[in-house]
């Protein structure tokens, strides 16, 4: 149906104008100019200020990692509108030529359509998911037996650090941003996000950040091996690749702040008439709280990465004890972001699960308001627990018990959510589709991860288990069994909406079971070897752990292989899948009330929301009506 919604596009550019118009050709010549600026600027300043040496590699590299991505963004056209505005010319009515996709090429340019951006995000993040997974399999190969086989300890730690960084900053966080991007405006009954150009720009920062992290690994002199936590002062004395890491995190962080800001403004100002806060789908609620977390917390990791980078490049002493710096300050600042980041990586998943479970159980969400309020409770409590990562770091002793208590209290709102999902399924007519299987897999695995989390919150157990494989097991039960399962659930659930075609259900189920079994075989034994005292982030280990590590390594390759089923299913179904129709799940939320894929501006008319989004099985219940004679004005709540 999309062809009905075609619109004017700008006339095709010819000759020299192809070089000056936004796009990859312009990238080719603008980026080198910015590269030159990146060399020239620091050299000029150092020369004017009489600093020696005038040529300083680490300084030039740091500046390059700002200017080269800027050059790319200028080239591809991320700033065109603002440049036009800044030049003082009159603003023109948007001709929507940068909106929507008619061929695959439109996914490779600056596109302001939130649906295109959502798909750009999801596909990009899956690529980085695969790279991160391959890194994990590489170091699992090393760990298959004790001793040094393939990698020296330095390279091993590079692999571990980048595996974590890619999975966190380039997969889990932006994958949620992508799904949210696609779904939120549709769910709200809006034609697009509040700031479509900012949205496009924040997507294009992401591949930059990812390439930076990958480039850091292969930098001459060695990659960053200080772990994804990048603790000071170790991090300031790493090989040059560390600077790539620091700046990559900055770009990914900037991207996620911009997206969060966009989500918040969209949710507050762009709701359809009748869509009050208490009528919003829980996915929207989840992204609302997550975005608040991002806006408040992410600047702290930006700060922390600036400090360790300045300690290296400008020889400051933020965390260098020799010059009056305070080493532990880094960990406080870092975890003040990175504990809330745990919820940034989980709350949108909670939202997805609420959608999937309600629809697939054909029942209203149990305790809808409590579900939304518990998200808010997690948001607030999430800022009061950061030092539980520092029980063994030598921080002030009096901080331990309060942080232990708050960490345990945060299990209460999380528990409320778990019981709400269970109660939603209770006596429901459950459809065991692939998204539902992943939702159930998430529920069971996240409970295990949550329980080991409560263990780790208590100071004595944490002291015993710190920096062992028990931590690795815990983090993967919440981040893989938790977040990644919810991402898969979301991708399968909205695949028909995004592509207009149904995925292969048999392959989907195969993917689920392979992932579920491979995941448990890989990570469950880590609880055991962790408690037995096997330390994490070390390439070699004691001979008594040999058998179980071989088992884990083999299981991890199986887990990696299960992703191939997913990729094959997605590629095949996107091209040849059964046409899905507008609403294959018979869902009530607004994104399912339009065609699949939706029209270019989502709705031909803005719907009128008249009821709650989850009234499944309630006779006569309606979420929204289309073609209402006259929308009533909505209150501003």
């Amino acid at each position: 149906m999309t062809e009905l919604h075609e619109h004017h596009t700008a006339p095709a550019r010819t000759g020299i104008r192809r070089l000056t118009g936004p796009g990859w050709l312009r990238v080719l010549w603008v980026t080198p100019i910015f590269f030159g600026i990146g060399v020239g600027l620091p050299v000029l300043i150092r020369w004017l200020a009489h600093w020696h040496p005038v040529w300083k590699g680490s300084v030039i590299l740091t500046v390059e990692l700002v200017t080269v991505p800027l050059g790319f963004l200028v080239g591809i056209g991320g700033f065109d509108y603002w440049a036009h505005y800044a030049s003082g010319r009159p603003t023109v009515e948007d001709d929507h030529s940068s909106h929507g996709a008619k061929s695959w090429r439109d996914y490779f340019r600056v596109n302001t359509d939130h649906k295109v951006i959502g798909i750009q995000y999801v596909v990009t993040t899956i690529i980085f998911f695969c790279i991160g997974g391959l890194l994990a399999m590489l170091f699992r190969a090393e760990l298959a037996q004790p001793g040094d086989q393939y990698f020296n300890p330095q390279t091993f730690n590079v692999l571990v650090s980048n595996h974590a960084a890619l999975m966190i900053f380039l997969f889990v966080i932006p994958a949620f941003a992508g799904l949210g991007n696609y779904v939120i405006p549709l769910m709200l009954g809006a034609a697009d996000m509040a700031f479509p150009r900012l949205n496009a720009l924040s997507f294009w920062l992401l591949p930059m950040a990812g390439l930076m992290l990958v480039a850091g690994m292969v930098t001459p002199g060695g990659g960053p091996s200080a772990g994804w936590t990048c603790y000071a002062p170790l991090c300031s004395h790493q090989p040059l690749g560390q600077v790539f890491f620091n700046m990559g995190v900055q770009w990914a962080g900037a991207s996620s702040i911009m997206t969060a800001l966009n989500f918040l403004v969209t949710i507050i100002t762009m709701r359809a008439p009748g869509m009050t806060f208490w009528r919003m789908p829980l996915l929207v609620w989840a992204n609302f709280t997550t975005s608040l977390l991002v806006v408040i917390a992410t600047p702290f990791i930006a700060g922390s990465q600036f400090f360790v980078m300045f300690d290296r490049v400008l020889h400051t002493h933020f965390f260098e004890p020799g010059g009056g710096g305070y080493v532990l300050g880094y960990q406080h600042i870092f975890w003040f972001y990175s504990h809330p980041a745990v919820y940034i990586m989980m709350l949108p998943g909670f939202g997805i699960i609420s959608e999937v479970i309600a629809v697939m159980s054909r029942k209203p969400v149990f305790g809808y308001r409590l579900m939304a309020l518990s998200l808010m409770a997690i948001l607030v409590l999430g800022f009061s627990v950061w030092a539980h990562h520092m029980f063994v770091a030598g921080m002030a002793g009096w901080l331990r018990v309060p942080m232990m208590v708050t960490s345990m209290v945060i299990a209460v709102p999380t528990g409320i959510k778990i019981f709400s999902w269970l109660a939603t399924m209770w006596e429901g007519r459950i459809h065991f589709t692939t998204p539902m299987l992943f939702a159930l897999g998430f529920l069971s695995m996240f409970v295990i991860g949550g329980l080991s989390g409560i263990y780790l919150a208590s100071v004595p157990i944490d002291i015993h288990a710190s920096d062992t494989y028990f931590i690795v097991a815990h983090i993967h039960y919440v981040l893989f069994g938790g977040s990644v399962f919810t991402i898969f659930a979301g991708i399968y659930y909205w695949f028909p909406k995004m592509t207009g075609r149904m995925y292969d259900e048999r392959l989907g189920k195969l993917h689920f079971w392979l992932t579920f079994i491979g995941f448990n075989l890989t990570f469950f034994p880590m609880h055991y070897i962790g408690l037995q005292g096997m330390p994490r982030r070390v390439a070699d280990y004691a001979g008594r752990f040999a058998d179980i590590n071989l088992f884990i390594s083999i299981a991890s390759f199986g887990l990696g292989a299960s992703t191939l089923v997913f990729l094959y299913n997605m590629a095949k179904s996107w091209k040849h899948g059964e046409p899905a129709g507008g609403n294959p799940w018979r869902a009530l939320t607004l994104e399912w009330q339009v065609s699949s894929p939706p029209p270019i501006f989502n709705f031909d008319e803005i719907p009128q929301v008249v009821g709650h989004p989850y009234e499944y099985g309630v006779p006569g219940a309606k979420h929204a009506i289309f073609g209402a004679p006259k929308p009533e004005p909505v209150g501003t709540d």
Binding site: G88, L264, T298, F318, G324, T636
Partner: protein
């Protein structure tokens, strides 16, 4: 969905755009966006204040001397600079109220004055950096000094860039009593930068 069944005339899609936007809040998206951005900026400054706090209060280096012996902060130059920046907030406010009343000359004069005052502030800071007698590599005192003032200087630079754009547009006659969003939003940012400076000045120079 309903419209898919509608008969489709050739040329009907010539004017096909998005449906009219329904705003569900009285706050304009751009103003709300700017306030959220400022919230995020405050947290970034918060990270820099936190590291300052850890380095100075928790760590207590240099036998309790802050600044360490031999280091001197140009308190009075910075005070004059503070007055310059605060007065630039007043001129910004003048520009903003002028355009609301339709006084375009007032807008232009206000913006140009703000721009000049802001540029003076930044230039003074650069000269001050040069004459301080210490550099980033000298102790955590210098690190936090350059960290906070440098972060703020970067914000002044961004603010000046926004002001420059607004000035260009003001002289091209783009703003009117009905349409002055750009001035308003740029103004909010500039006031934020000024208020932030007062906090930075008190912390870094006076305490």
């Amino acid at each position: 969905m309903s419209s898919h069944a509608e008969p489709h005339e050739p040329g009907a899609f010539e004017h096909h755009g998005p449906p009219p936007i329904h705003y569900s809040s009285r706050v304009s998206p751009a103003v709300l966006g700017m306030f959220l951005f400022i919230a995020s900026e405050i947290m970034l400054f918060g990270a820099f204040f936190t590291v300052y706090f850890f380095d100075r209060v928790v760590n207590k280096p240099f036998n309790g001397h802050w600044p360490p012996e031999g280091f001197h902060r140009p308190v009075y130059v910075a005070l004059i600079n503070t007055l310059i920046l605060v007065s630039s907030s007043a001129t910004m406010h003048w520009a903003d109220t002028s355009i609301k009343k339709g006084n375009r000359a007032g807008l232009q004069a206000g913006l140009v004055l703000t721009l000049c005052l802001g540029a003076t502030f930044l230039a003074t800071q650069v000269i001050e950096y040069h004459r301080l007698g210490f550099a980033t590599k000298d102790t955590s005192f210098a690190s936090t000094f350059f960290g906070l003032t440098g972060l703020h200087g970067a914000h002044v630079f961004v603010g000046l860039t926004i002001l420059l754009v607004m000035t260009i547009r003001a002289f091209r006659g783009h703003f009117s009593p009905e349409h002055h969003h750009g001035v308003e939003i740029g103004g909010i940012y500039w006031h934020f930068v000024d208020v932030m400076w007062i906090v930075v000045y008190v912390t870094v120079y006076l305490l």
